[in-house]
Symmetry: C2
Subunit: 238 residues, 2 copies
Amino acid sequence: MTTIETTDLPETCKDCSVRHVGICAALTVAELHRMARSARHTSHGAGDPLVFENSEITSYANVTDGVVKLQRVLRDGKQQMVGLQFAPDLLGRLFGTENLLTVEAASDVDLCRVPKSVLEGLVAGSAELKQRLLDQSLQDLDDARDWMVTLGRKDAQQRVASLILLIAKRSGPWSSGGAAAIIFELPLSRSDMADFLGLTIETVSRQISKLRHDKVIDVVNHRQVTVPDMARLTARAG
Amino acid sequence: MTTIETTDLPETCKDCSVRHVGICAALTVAELHRMARSARHTSHGAGDPLVFENSEITSYANVTDGVVKLQRVLRDGKQQMVGLQFAPDLLGRLFGTENLLTVEAASDVDLCRVPKSVLEGLVAGSAELKQRLLDQSLQDLDDARDWMVTLGRKDAQQRVASLILLIAKRSGPWSSGGAAAIIFELPLSRSDMADFLGLTIETVSRQISKLRHDKVIDVVNHRQVTVPDMARLTARAG
DNA sequence: CGGCGTCCTTGATCGGAATCAAATGCGCGG
DNA sequence: CCGCGCATTTGATTCCGATCAAGGACGCCG
């Protein structure tokens, strides 16, 4: 008896929000089964630690919902965020043996964890998957380099505007032409934002107040942001 | 008649310094021939522009000798260096259509240029090559994230020490145990260093003077650096 | 040898973000 | 409803690095 593809999908994948994007989109049904057999879905609250720096890498994880912070901690306790991952990004340094980063849930997060050996086996067998991973790492590299410019050459005002812009863009694909206001929830606390931006909490807060005073953004409850005019925010981001 | 591998090598590859490393090490002799047929070696003096931001990508290039700067320029003329490439790194954003970076020779540089379509054809056909490129981009990503920490959280002294340390490590593999002094040539001008570090020329110069005064490094002719004790330099780098 | 240009160093002052300190707002449990 | 704890905002002061401004050092070319 022949069935259509969807009925053959592993149970865990059937309703998965990332089934058709990210690395899962690059897999055949057979490969999906192989992965799903050892995959496990987990949920985490905002602020939960997901991976500790210097721990051994034993699994990778697909972000199926929420936002995850990647950070590096200095000996003196200061920390710098080096990336944010949204669904459907893959978490974990491929082919690494040791985690170089601390990973924390920024918002509530759902993960689909896959043992290291299983994913690496799939990568070895699938040129398409390898291609997908290469694409993501190249994109991450572009993003990291963009952020280096922000950290190295922008002042506090431009940095804060850059971050809000970044989140606005990833929150909802927005019609670039339209002048409609964008509304979204910040997945980051002021402290997180400071860590991302290489600033202090106080400076972040002051710059947000200034942007608000200048009517570039509106903020309610510290978290919900409205951007009436993306072009004006973009201009502030340098 | 059977010949040993080396006699079958393309002429251009026979004496090439990167023949056995980087992407070339991942290629079969046949693939090397295919690449060599359209490859072209070029030499460039320090400071020569190699690639302009926003230009179309038409070729990739293997760095066979020297050091290359990757930088991003802001509208107001400020610039931030986002990476350094040494032999045998591959230059050029894979699968991109447009250069997002300005590329300049930091020192005298030799390149082996390959048309975009030729290299991409080879990548499509060789899992090993794809793997090698994935490895490099993952390494570049790790490096970029390391540097984000430097830019976001370190003070001027630590930044300058970090850069000298980085160059020292890439200049000559040094026996980590030994206390022998390391001597090397800086491939970067003060201005380049400032661009890399998100500082001004004056601040870089002052910090170098301070490191010299504290006997952490010795400098002659502005360029030749001696590090008597790597551990002490590492400590200064934060 | 002397003059000039470029790169680097050093000094004086200024400004923006960090730090120190306090007030306000807000959620939560009693 | 009140009081407590935490995150955020706001204010005052300090300090590091940018900026402005000279002064060397070195190489190149006449």
